[in-house]
Structure formats: C-alpha cells, structure tokens
Symmetry: C2
Subunit: 224 residues, 2 copies
C-alpha cells in the first residue's frame, strides 16, 4: 500500500469521477490488490478529498465489478478465482460471437477499412515488444468490431467483461509465442467479415476467445 495514488485533477469533472478513474486504474494496474480493503478515510486522506466522493466512486466500482462491499463492513477490491474467470470467459465467448455476427450484417465499407488497419496495427505492435502497446492494439481491434455491431449496450458489457480480466490479459500478452496465432486469428476474423460469412466469423471468434481461455486459466493456476 504505497503512497502512489494521485488525482489527475481535471478541473471540471466531478470528483467522484476523478476518484473513480484513479481507483479503477490502481486496481487494474495491481496497485490495489484483490481482497485489499478500500477504507474511505484512508483513501480520502491519500487523495486529498473528503469521504463523499470516495464513497460514490466505490459505488461506481461495484458497478464495474471491481469492488465488493459488505454493508457496515466496507469495500474491498474484488477477488477473482479460476471459476470466476471461467464464468466471465463463457459469457465473453457468447457475446463476442454475437457481436461479430451482428457486425457481419452491419459493418460498413469504412469500418472494414478501419478494421483492416487495426489488424495491421496489431501486427506491428507485436514487433515492438511493448506489451502495453500490444494490449492497446488488441483492444482497438475488438472495439472496431463492437462498434460495427451497432449495439451500445453490448459494447458496454463487453468492455466491462474485458476490464474484469485486464490484469490476466496483460500477463497473457507477455507470451510472445502466442503472437502468430493471435495475428492469424485476427486476420481470419477480418477476412470472414470481408466476405460477410457469418458462420466463418462466428467460428473464428469462438476459437479466438477459447484460446485466450486456455492460456489465461494456465496463468491463474501458475499464480497459485
């Protein structure tokens, strides 16, 4: 529990949002560890604000599944067991399949071009050896598909699910031997969308998520 947290003071955004973003980042980066208590007074002192915005930010973290609070006992950073991860990945698989199927019907020519360059950017990023960059490029690829699916609620859910496994995903992307497979899968998905071959893209996406599942589960097992 280091003294790292600092607010990214954006004059106008309500403090609860600034605090929320700060805590969210800290949780995703692992600075606040799973199971760690989120004590209002302490956080308030560290961030130099009152308890009010802290409390509201915590309610918002619950919304994202990043914190769990027990009445009159306080909040802690959400823990994630292997089973939890399996559960999340099952859902992601179903929703990613849905997203790519919807995208198949609705994607525009322009969005196809954007997706193509996202595929290319991802390939390039893997050559940079910068895991953070790789992760970002991967997010961009999937976001392009989500946008094409034209279902904001679905996009929201998927972003949220992705966030819940962020920490493990970063670990996952450190394994450079996986890059060729990932690149190939991205290409396959892109080409399926280009041909608007719904069955093919659905299958490719399911495979893509399934591969992640296997690796991520291994990572969790190793950690224990």
């Amino acid at each position: 529990m280091t003294e790292k947290l600092t607010l990214n003071m954006n004059a106008y955004l309500p403090l609860r949002d600034v605090v929320f973003n700060t805590l969210r980042e800290a949780i995703l980066k692992g600075e606040l560890k799973p199971g760690e208590r989120l004590m209002e007074l302490q956080l308030a002192a560290r961030l130099g604000v009152s308890r009010t915005p802290i409390r509201e930010a915590i309610r918002m973290l619950e919304l994202e599944g990043l914190a769990v609070t027990i009445p009159r006992k306080g909040a802690q950073v959400a823990k994630m067991t292997e089973k939890d991860m399996e559960d999340v990945l099952q859902i992601r698989q179903a929703l990613d399949e849905l997203a790519v199927k919807l995208a198949c019907d609705k994607i525009t020519e322009q969005q196809l071009r954007q997706l193509k360059s996202a595929v290319r950017d991802f390939e390039e990023s893997t050559r940079s050896r910068d895991v953070k960059k790789v992760a970002q490029a991967d997010v961009a690829f999937h976001d392009a598909i989500y946008k094409a699916a034209d279902n904001p609620k679905l996009m929201n859910l998927l972003n949220n699910l992705r966030e819940q496994m962020y920490r493990y995903r970063v670990e996952y992307l450190k394994d450079e031997t996986a890059y060729p497979t990932l690149i190939a899968e991205h290409r396959e998905i892109y080409e399926g969308l280009l041909r608007r071959d719904k069955e093919a893209v659905a299958q490719a996406m399911v495979k893509h998520v399934m591969n992640q599942e296997i690796v991520v589960k291994n990572i969790i097992r190793e950690q224990e």
Copy 2:
C-alpha cells in the same frame, strides 16, 4: 408524481439499500416514469431521509441501467427506445441460449424436478388470470434454468436484462392468447433438458426469446 413512495423500513439494512429498492420498485412499476428527473432534495423529503443515501442509491440505479445521470445536471429515469429494447433482446437471446446450453451439461436430477414443477406452476398460473402471478411463475421458470447453468455472473446479467424490460414484459403477459405458445415453449425447453439435447434446447430457447421480441416490439410501437 404522487406522494406514493414510502420506505420499507428494515431497521438494519443501510438506508441507501432501502432507498435503492424503493426507487427501483417505483421505476419498474411505472410510478417514476422514463425521463422523469430524480431530484435529490425532493426524493429526500419524500422519503424522509437526507440526500446522502439518495445520492448513493442513484449511483446504484445507474448500475442497473435504470437511471442515467449527467454530471452537474442530475439523474433521470432511463428511457428506452425501440432500438434499446432490440439491443437488450439480442443480448438476452445470446445469453439465454448460453444459459440453457450450460444447464444442459450441468443440470442435476433434483433441478430437473424443480424445473418440471416450475413448468407446471406456470401452466396453472395462466389459468388464474392474475398477470402478476403469471409473470412470477415465468421468472421462476427461467431462474431455475439460470441456477442450473451454474454461472452466477451470467445469472446476474440475465436478471438485470430482464429487469430492464420488466414494464414491457408485464404488458406482454397480459395477452392471454400467447399463453398456449408460452406453455408449449416451456415444455419444449424442459424436455430438451431432460434429454440433454443441447441443440434442441438452444433452438427452443432462441425461439422463445424471439417470440417475446416480436410481441414486445409491437407493444412499444403501439405506445407511440
């Protein structure tokens, strides 16, 4: 905006939770209408509490998608357009399909018996002509499947999606001519699970949700 709201004072539950439940009910029952502003001071006065628990309850309503807040402008009851409803139903379809497939693998003998009686209860409820009862029995049927799927996060999501269309669902269940179809579909799903025929249950469930989609969309169109 009637003076209806009253707190169900449960001595121990934090006020934010009591307020949350109260407002949630009011929104689902239609006492607080889509687009209506949720003003803290006013709600606080009506419910006889301070603004603090109101504010936290509003944050929690956002979590459920029942309220939307704009910084420095306040919260309002979430509106739902036909497109929103379509989006929700697409997601529901995918996740209900997932749930029933998972249930196919995991459902126990005991849970099968419970599901059977849920099917029977639903049939009986339709004879009662009490829409509220019918809705409850329908919820019980689906919950039995969700429980069998053994994925709490999935159950959570599905309950949440169901909640978001509660008002329309009740309208939907007022149409008695739909009952025979519903009963037949429930039976079909149950029998598929009994045979553990994954393809059959998935198909039956997709059909079931699709039928709802058609009817609910008609209802929305009529309202406009």
